[in-house]
Symmetry: D2
Subunit: 388 residues, 4 copies
């Protein structure tokens, strides 16, 4: 097809498992449904298992493969690095990428600890690159609608955040120990993996958290080892973590995270109660937002079940007609489009990092999680969250 | 009608407001839909506002009225005393009634503090009377079903209790200060009023609580005084209280209580997650129980929406055919029937108090609430609950 | 209690089974929760099984019993007759009662056929008595709210009524043949029993039906006989009946009735779609009304889940505080209160029959059902409904 | 990437509007998430508006464009033709494609009338090409699960199908007349557009329809003309169509289709009731299936809310982990994968057309719709559906 082509932006991806697929799909779909400032070029995919990596690259159209991430980052023709690796590999790669002047699109959880998080932010800011942290739920149309209703004053002063992120994959006692159940690679259990998402949404919709109490629990302490058949090992991270939070704006919050909520596969839910209204959302029913308004006449008040697929709802108009729902992976497509636009904005001279959540949010979340760990180690007493 | 009549049991009621009505209806309906061991006779109603009291007695068929509760308790012809008074009046009246040999049917919250609670239990046990504490949700058919499923092992070892009791009547800043917002009369805010219900259900369905952390919050600290027009006073009790709990059986719990949950009028809800299944319930939809079973084939697992109106469900077969729901007040009717049977069991020589929840449960709840108050005053750190 | 008593109205009830209980409860509760113009006196209960009848009267407080309904109607001290009998006994008793000058409170379905219905109405009108037909769902607060929203123009011109009344008790092939499965006693199957309710609500909320098509179906044609153990007989009435309707105001309707909807115990549901909004309701969740409004801003449109337990909702304020639901039998209490007030209005000179639905509605429904039968016998072609 | 490539299959697409996008996405995504027998090559896109077509092709990666569909079909290098055109253009193009030996992937509604439908099927069968009719809802995992439960006997003998396909875009009186509101281009209104989908699902899940009654209605009869600003024209097709059906297996059905269901954007729903269980589904919540089983113990029966995202559910395991929902467009991806496999099966010698629904289903649906039209013109009396 002869057609005036957009400028291209060369992407390298580190990682080719679950998140490698989700991110690749994000890049691949972004120009089909959106009109971002650049056409992303899937230049090189990097991983350690060459056979798998080759199949992955072939399937998704990555032009080249590479098994050494440092060589990827050294390449002059790479504009942006997409980090789809396990948590413990984020800091080293993200810092190196930023220092090499690459824009960074980083999967969550951000980092192993607050120190890493701060180093990552410092590197990105020093390098002046675009930095993005992929808490993808912010780009779900129904969640954006929640934010718009709050910003418009429809909820009033917020009194309560009641959140939970519940999974159930550890209810099975035969589920083996992998990187997600080891402290060195995952930092913590659901507190890190699920809690970081929940805290990001709380930050996005309510604001800063001043203080936190956290209770952790282990239900099954020994499991088969994934990498040593017949042997068992200790589960090093918590099975569940419950947080209670005080927000800077006076709201009170609760966040429950667990991998033992039988019957809940990926239930990420929040309820928000304010002086003028209320909101509720659940990732398992992600296209809908529940909205209650005190402004409705008394006889006609009730939670409205809004199907956020109208033309006026963010992102979703680019997909299908009203009433046609979107799924899990669409948030990654939205993120890819916004990231590409952010690079353009940066090149056009934006002083601030032109996309959120970014590495500042990563640090902000890490401060909360760090305080939660301190609380969990101190009889769950309330602990102040470090200020920015 | 010439008909062989049952033996009668003479009831006196103290209090004639909201709970006076609900209890009177319980006594009045109990012989129409159930076959309790006694026919309750609505002998005397006691209150301080004589005009209101007279109207109340006329409406409900209380034979006599009395404005001095001590004279009621002194009467030889009274078999049982129904305490439908504000919390701060429970201990004195209940103890006096027990000492006078009256069986006691007591509204919740049980007492102002643990000392009162223990004194009430001691008096009832010493007197050998039947004692009942009206946490009425235990007699909702769907809640009884939850208990039966747990007892039958359908849920397995319980890992999580996620509870909330949410109301919204204090969102209105013009709502005045009445006895429920004063420490001397109510002891605490939603922690006491709603939390006692939630803890009772947690006790009933999960078991003893070993330790607790509690966070309280005040959103509006000054309000008009109900009894001094034009003047304002301080709200003495918390607006919301969030608890995290460790159960003796290893489960982890959360209980959220508030009067600021806009859009929730009387939402008393719990989720229970165990190794074999899960349950969820909501008082605003009280005839239904959600039940998830790992025993279902994998492709057909999902929360079952059980309408607990079948002949095999407790209590409800006495009302209407399947599919015909019951309402809020029915739990009081069930309690009245069970209380009458308990008196018969006692007279027949039962060693134990033959009904639950009773004053032992009142003490058990008071110990948890007491520990919650200590926690709330100690940076929300975890506090051990006193043992029985 | 010395108290100024209301004037009394003496009631006689014919029938003492399911409806006898529901009606007795209605009379008993009405003065406890409402303030009707009269205090109803449960004077005499009439039935043929004397032992059962005696127990029934004892339980509910009917002062006397009688086994011959004609003797009841002849009594001068009876003001109103409550007909809680099977359908085929309605006409004779209602006409005799009216002719004797008794006000009539009649259970549904109204009559065996249109001729009976018209005779009943003529008798009641000639006698000038109050006549009421107990389609109780009209007195469910959420249904009244639906009517108020329609009257206020919130739904706009109505285009669609989509209704269903689904039960499942005949799915069991061992369910025996009783009066409800015989043409002589029941006239028809779900068309009559459930369809009359559904049509009454359609009349109440949409208006007159001009024409109708009906399709009937029999799934199980032979069953055990209830009154002849070991023998089987033919099911004489349809198992399911589906109606399509044209309303006088231009709306199109569908009404599905069946006793074979496995999983639905008593699901009576409607959806209404108009130019400005929409409504949906389900008897199994009877305290709630779903309301959609085009007037909401586009981004915040959704069906509102209204819990109709607020002070501003009809009837329900007389029961409990907001958020406390009522059950199936409450509609009978509301009907009893309104009937007593209607008698007072009549005595005060009301020209019109001061309560609805009444025998005119009974005739109106019978005309629709009659046309439905004609259609069912004519390849389901559309048949005009006779005009009033 | 050096990688062993699959054999390629060259696709041509006719049409580039809504369905052109949905189909293009289907082809593009199919090899990323599935492993079909061929790699589809997006060879040529055909349409009449060259500028739009060029943009479309550029966005989706169609290698060439063409404005004359006959030239596309004449090309030797095209293996399969994807017909994403308005209904009235299906027959001519599909027949020509089949005659040219191209496999045909055809959007619904199949044809303007039964004659066209039969000609299309005859052409495809004579040519021996693969033919597929895109009733995409059959490839929704929850719908496939419904079929599997029925096939496994979990529902028992089916008594009822209660279906509806409700949209609301015509509630706005300013919506103009376009091809969908003209008889020559659309054949009929929602009967054709929505009813064909509903009937296809009924065929898939229940079986053949023997006879049908249909009622049509027009609410707004005149609208602005899309192609003549300022002028108005007559709406030539019905606004709503209600069908009642008799299935060959004895089930009774209802299907309601409308474009006037305010508040419903794309609600395609069915309820199935059988002797052993029941099912319910709604496209607006397409990842879930409601399943009721009589085999559950009586106290624990209820509709199970199955989130069909488990590894054992069809198609969905190729996407994301359990609990991560998919959206509207995924059914097109599933169809594309199955179509490619069908071509391989055909080349391998399959005697039967190796994919459903196909043109035989198109004829089967057309027969039902044809009978519905006859009924609608004959006072809605029941009309026999022509046999195959």
């Amino acid at each position: 097809m002869a057609e005036v082509k957009k400028e291209r932006l060369n992407i390298a991806i580190l990682g080719h498992r679950f998140m490698g697929r989700a991110h690749s799909n994000g890049w691949a779909q972004t120009t089909k449904f959106f009109d971002p400032a650049f056409e992303p070029v899937l230049k090189v995919a990097c991983g350690r298992d060459e056979a798998d990596l080759r199949a992955f690259a072939g399937r998704w159209g990555w032009e080249e493969i590479e098994t050494d991430w440092r060589r990827v980052i050294e390449r002059d023709d790479i504009d942006a690095v997409d980090i789809s690796l396990p948590t413990f590999l984020h800091a080293e790669t993200a810092i190196a990428a930023a220092e090499a002047g690459k824009h960074v699109f980083c999967e969550k959880p951000f980092a192993i600890d607050l120190a890493e998080a701060e180093a990552m932010l410092a590197a990105a800011e020093k390098a002046g690159v675009v930095h993005y942290l992929n808490h993808n739920y912010r780009r779900c149309p129904a969640v954006v609608l929640a934010r718009r209703l709050i910003d418009a004053g429809e909820i009033g002063e917020i009194h309560h955040w009641r959140g939970a992120y519940q999974q159930s994959w550890l209810v099975n006692p035969d589920h083996p120990i992998d990187w997600k159940l080891r402290k060195a690679t995952a930092a913590a259990g659901p507190l890190w993996d699920l809690g970081s998402h929940a805290i990001d949404l709380a930050h996005y919709l309510v604001g800063d958290i001043d203080a936190i109490g956290c209770r952790m629990k282990n239900f099954i302490t020994e499991r088969p080892l994934a990498d040593a058949p017949g042997k068992r090992g200790e589960v090093e991270v918590e099975c569940a973590a419950l947080m209670t939070t005080e927000f800077a704006n006076g709201a009170l919050g609760s966040i429950e995270t667990t991998r033992y909520a039988t019957g809940r596969r990926n239930r990420h839910t929040f309820e928000i109660y304010g002086g003028e209204g209320a909101l509720a959302w659940d990732m398992e029913d992600m296209n809908r937002l529940q909205f209650f308004s005190q402004k409705d006449p008394e006889h006609a008040r009730g939670f409205r079940d809004i199907l956020a697929t109208e033309r006026c709802h963010d992102y979703v108009k680019n997909w299908w007609p009203p009433g046609h729902i979107i799924g899990y992976e669409h948030g990654f497509v939205h993120a890819a489009a916004d990231f590409l636009d952010a690079v353009a904005a940066k090149r056009a001279g934006a002083a601030e990092n032109p996309i959120t959540p970014d590495f500042r949010d990563g640090v902000r979340i890490a401060r909360v999680l760090d305080a939660a760990l301190v609380s969990a180690g101190s009889e769950s007493r309330f602990v102040a969250v470090a200020k920015g």
